[in-house]
């Protein structure tokens, strides 16, 4: 912060008053629950809430050794990588194309940004309407070709469906950032390469793509965070974690253990693990922001 040179108002009392609302909300709805999660994560409570005992890192140990938890970790990683890659590749293709056209840029942008406004849970439902085996038209077409399509029973197909819905929802966001990133690349650079005889593909992979790296990296972090946390609605509305536990992500498991199965200690331990994951991702993102400040 460039603090020493800033001109400020001399006032002893007012700044505290201005800060008060945000501090109060942050304390009550952030620090209090976060500290309770940490406290709860080292306690073991019986299902009736009659007695609690201190178990140290016992909950963490059990959670991390639980095959169900490891399964949901694996599910989350596969789900996140697939969602991020599909959403970003598709958005990059569209952004590169939008960068090429001269007429209708604004129209294309308008028509591509609306999924951003669709709630993840609703994105899931839209895809479910199309692909559920009992009344979805596309499911009907798939089945009429003889393909055994049933995402409610087949776990790979269920995963495919939630990945499709999750990446569909994220395309607009990525598109906007890739368009902004492409606009920042000097056209002279690309023209110079063209004069040197580099074909379109070669220009893309040797100039455009490397120069987009900061945007791509930023989006990778954002998309991963999105796939980890914001997609709870998709999972809950489309598959409910099933079939079996094939689409049970980490956040869904925290919810399921805490609110459905009422294993409070385990749920709290999982919350704490998630907090650590988010903090790590934030740190990664900040390193990126810092790099950008230095070189950009």
């Amino acid at each position: 912060m460039a603090s020493s040179t800033r001109v400020t108002f001399p006032n002893k009392f007012l700044p505290y008053l201005l800060l008060a609302p945000q501090l109060a909300i942050t304390a009550i709805f952030f620090y209090w629950p976060a500290s309770q999660a940490i406290q709860q994560s080292v306690l073991r409570e019986d299902p009736f809430g009659l007695s609690t005992q201190f178990v140290g890192l016992g909950n963490f140990k059990r959670v991390l050794n639980d095959p169900n938890y490891l399964n949901s970790l694996q599910v989350t990683v596969i789900f996140s990588i697939a969602t991020a890659l599909i959403a970003m590749a598709f958005a990059l293709l569209l952004a590169v194309m939008a960068d090429k056209v001269i007429r209708g840029k604004g129209v294309y942008r308008t028509l591509l940004i609306w999924p951003y406004a669709v709630a993840p849970a609703i994105a899931g439902m839209l895809w479910l309407f199309l692909f559920n085996p009992s009344m979805g038209t596309l499911a009907y077409l798939l089945r009429s070709t003889g393909y055994n399509w049933d995402p409610l029973l087949n776990s790979d197909q269920a995963m495919l469906l939630v990945v499709a819905a999750a990446s569909w929802k994220q395309i607009s966001y990525n598109f906007l950032f890739f368009v902004a990133g492409l606009q920042a690349i000097p056209k002279s650079l690309i023209e110079a390469a063209a004069i040197d005889g580099a074909g379109e593909m070669k220009r893309f992979w040797t100039i455009v793509f490397p120069l987009l790296a900061p945007t791509t990296f930023f989006l990778l972090v954002v998309n991963t965070v999105y796939a980890f946390f914001d997609t709870f609605g998709i999972i809950h509305a489309v598959t409910g974690g099933g079939p079996g536990k094939a689409t049970e992500t980490l956040v869904y498991k925290v919810y399921n253990d805490g609110f459905v199965n009422l294993i409070l200690g385990d749920s709290a331990a999982q919350s704490v693990i998630l907090m650590v994951i988010v903090i790590a991702m934030t740190a990664v993102q900040f390193r990126y922001v810092e790099r950008k400040v230095h070189y950009g």
Binding site: F9, P21, I113, P120, F129, Y140, F218
Partner: protein
Amino acid sequence: MIQNNPIGRIIAHIILIIGILIVAFPIYYTFVASTQTLQDIIRPPLSLLPGGHFWENYSSALFGGISKIGGVGVDRLLLNTLVMALGIAIGKIIISILSAYAIVFFRFPGRMFFFWFIFITLMLPVEVRILPTYKIMVDLGLIDTYTGLILPLMASATATLLFRQFFMTIPGELVEAARVDGAGPWRFFKDILLPLSKTNIAALFVILFIYGWTQYLWPLLMTNRNDMATIVIGLRKMIDFTDANTQWHLVMVTCILAIVPPILVVVLMQRWFVRGLVETEK
């Protein structure tokens, strides 16, 4: 020079149009379904042109009450969602602009401590601390209230950070000039800072409105009563594949009604939204 490639441009247009079709198709399909009768919907394949039951379906969903969610009409769900989205957007903008103002334009003991106190909450979403936050809401008696839906989602630092960054670009001379002219902190805030922040406020409003409108996990936990549910939660409650009585035509209508308001906000306020998005996140 490289722009002069008509074939490449035509291919680009074609790919973009295919992309738009993929992006738009699920929404279009649901819209078509929302204008059909229940019998037509449950017997695939569905026609790809809208049917003739638009008014009938929409008015019965909006004002007729939906039996699956205890006779609550979609109008009520829309109202709840609107209150929640506006509450989060406006509330968060107000508390953030005030605290950013304090942090940038005043020097006081504990300033950096408070800055970090708020800043640490930057990326920790409500999803990772659901159970304890839920317990606190029960203790405070905030289940099934608008306060319970709104306040906890205001506790994050993104908006504060954005305002802080913007305020730091305001030249010190401006503050000095205001002080020389005898303007106190309140006059400076009202007459100089607020007008300068208009674009940022508009951008933030769009992003926070969408954020509030599309919430899922939190309203799922916070609302037990059907007449306090948001539209996304109400919709989830209406869908049941194992129940032959699911009123799919009303489900489709509700789905469209849940999508249209935020899409209108994004499309109509596109200029601020795009700016805000690209700048807030960086």
